[in-house]
């Protein structure tokens, strides 16, 4: 009886993880790696809450701070998501809230609440390459890009900071902000460790680095990430604190009601 049990468990293990094991040993395509990386990075957990501290530093070292609480809820793995953001800092945008319905196949829906005039404004969102709150991160950097939008090639395997990773080149299929992106993706957990964005002159103009990765609620999370504009010297460092996953955030939070009256229990 015991033997049968062990056999069944082993078989289950094989069915569930064997597939992955085999692929990881060489069968994974560049497209599969990018797809898996997007899920690990942007779709971890069913929902998420984090306090994000962003420092925007210009080449002279002058610093600006953006502090916000971010809520995210996934509706389908790799599919629709909703985001809610509440700004704590700087003082002139304090209490501003921002909501995004993210659809991988069409433009986002975005709403901004400006507390000073009690106005809920609809934000035109067809430019996913515009800067997120003045930082070096674009909206796409913050919420992800569909793997189908680029052609991916596995260049080589590499070791970055002692970690095995895949180095992948992604070329956009249609006009994009960049002409080429090179990504270093952790071979074990698929988080992006480094990304370099190339411009028309084939020069790196933006560089992303994951500087700290920690297990939060059992989910590996990039808790410190930096995006540097190598042309202007401007850089943005985002630190994620108090990251929690699978909190059961209600669908109703992502509504005009809570844009106007920030949900105290979630944003603290």
């Amino acid at each position: 009886m015991k033997i049968v049990k062990i056999f069944i468990i082993s078989l289950t293990f094989l069915v569930v993880f064997g597939h992955k094991l085999v692929l990881a040993q060489g069968g994974l395509s560049a497209y599969d790696i990018i797809t898996q990386s997007r899920l690990s990075f942007f779709y971890a957990g069913d929902d998420m809450k984090a306090k994000v501290l962003m420092e925007l530093v210009n080449k002279n070292g002058q610093k600006r701070v953006r502090e916000l609480t971010m809520l995210r809820k996934d509706y389908e793995e790799g599919g629709n998501q909703k985001y809610f953001m509440y700004f704590h800092q700087p003082a002139d945008v304090k209490d501003t809230t921002f909501m995004v319905y993210k659809y991988p196949d069409k433009d986002d829906d975005r709403w901004l609440f400006i507390p000073a005039i009690n106005l809920v404004k609809r934000i035109a969102a067809n430019d996913k390459y515009s800067s997120f709150v003045g930082s070096d991160f674009t909206y796409e950097d913050v919420s992800g890009r569909k793997p189908e939008e680029d052609t991916h090639t596995l260049l080589r395997k590499d070791i970055l900071d002692g970690k095995d990773c895949y180095v992948i080149e992604s070329i956009p299929k249609s006009a994009s902000e960049y002409t080429k992106r090179i990504s270093w993706i952790d071979a074990t957990d698929f988080l992006p460790l480094k990304e370099e964005f190339y411009d028309k002159q084939n020069e790196v103009y933006r560089r992303f680095e994951a500087q700290e990765i920690r297990g939060m609620n059992g989910v590996l999370t990039i808790t410190k990430r930096v995006m540097k504009n190598t042309k202007t010297g401007h850089r943005s460092e985002a630190t994620f604190e108090d990251v929690e996953y699978n909190l059961g955030i209600g669908d109703d939070i992502f509504s005009e009601r809570y844009l106007r009256k920030a949900p105290v229990q979630w944003i603290k």
Binding site: D109, A116, L119
Partner: protein, 445 residues
Amino acid sequence: MDKIRIRTLFMIIMSGALFFNLEEVGADVSKFHGFAEMDYGAKVSDDNTKRDNFNLLEQRLQLKTMYTFEGENYEPRGVHSHKPNVVYGYLAEKSSVLNFKGDFTVDEYFSGKTDFELRELNITLTPYRLMDAQFGRQIITWGTGDYLFVNDLFPKDYISFFIGRDDEYLKKPSDAMKLSFYPSPANVDFVVSPFEPNTIPEGDRLSFFDSFQGGIAGVNSDRDLLEPPLQLSNNEYALRIYRNFESNELAFYYFRGFDKNPTSYKDEAARQLFYPRLDVYGTSLRGPTSGGIGNIEFGYYNSREDSGGNNRLIANSLFKVLTGYEKDLGSDLKIGLQYLYEQTSDYGNYKANLLPTDFVFDESRHLLAQRITKLYKNQTIAVSLFNFYSPSNRDGYVRPTASYNISDQWKATLGANLPWGEDDLTEFGQMKRNKNVFFRARYSF
């Protein structure tokens, strides 16, 4: 004026008492935020207002704070009995929040007059899962326009707008009760408030078209604006029902109250104007359209005291339609276009009842508005041009602004208000002698 002062004083005492009470029961009053600001606006055209070289020179300190009631088994500090505070307990249970925002001002236009303007003092609570309530002084905004309003009949301050104060001051607060319901088919907002008029030019700071003076008037204007008396039957009611259909937002509006502007004559000999009763029925739709955001909004203004349009002293009913489109062109460049059409109802009756000496206003008005905004240097510099143009009124209003966030605390804004017009009695034409250039420096904390 006295009424307002007494009310303000009452509000200050009330807010003081509230915060004192909170301290007393051991609550941690969360930090104060706000800004200190210096504003200066120089005139670039002549008129006969109180001062001929500037119409804005003031210092302002805004303080705001919010207090969240929380904790279920709350016990008052230093009190030996362990009896929980019932009121506090209720407010905490209903996730209540107390909001305060007030501006202390020193206005050099009126020779350094100091003032306190209470912008917000209200409490919001969630008495039931699908309902919110907000009581007290608050700013309420709805509708789909950009600087143009069809179904937002909440009070505005057009003097602030035309002299170059921050956009925040275009909206005046209402002393209101706002109830919001969120059942699944649609959301509902219901607002009750006493009448509060728009603040409009009256000659001392900004010149305007005064029909009693037969043209553009300044300090010589001596008209008398009669507000409806403060009584229950003069309360105003505003209703909005809205819901989303996928990415589109549909809303219906109803307003019952008074015209926000003194459009009608009570007694011509005594130069008295009043705010006639008004009902507004409206609807709006907003959503993604060809790579941008499109909106359309209708409103029918029923002038209840002259619904047939036969009384030449009272404004006729009116139909308004507003459409708009906004698009992000990339590289932090945005454009917005709007078109507003207004048509007076029963224009024939209006014309037939005019006296030969009356000024004649047109039956309809076309107004185009366009906004271009471009951000530079990691969105720290914002350059914006807002332009109104009415081909039917042959007037317009150009509003360029440039602002720079020097740091997270310091912000400098430079702008101009340039209304123009061929005639003296049109909306912007009457403002043409109020051209100004303004500068604001703000420190936020």
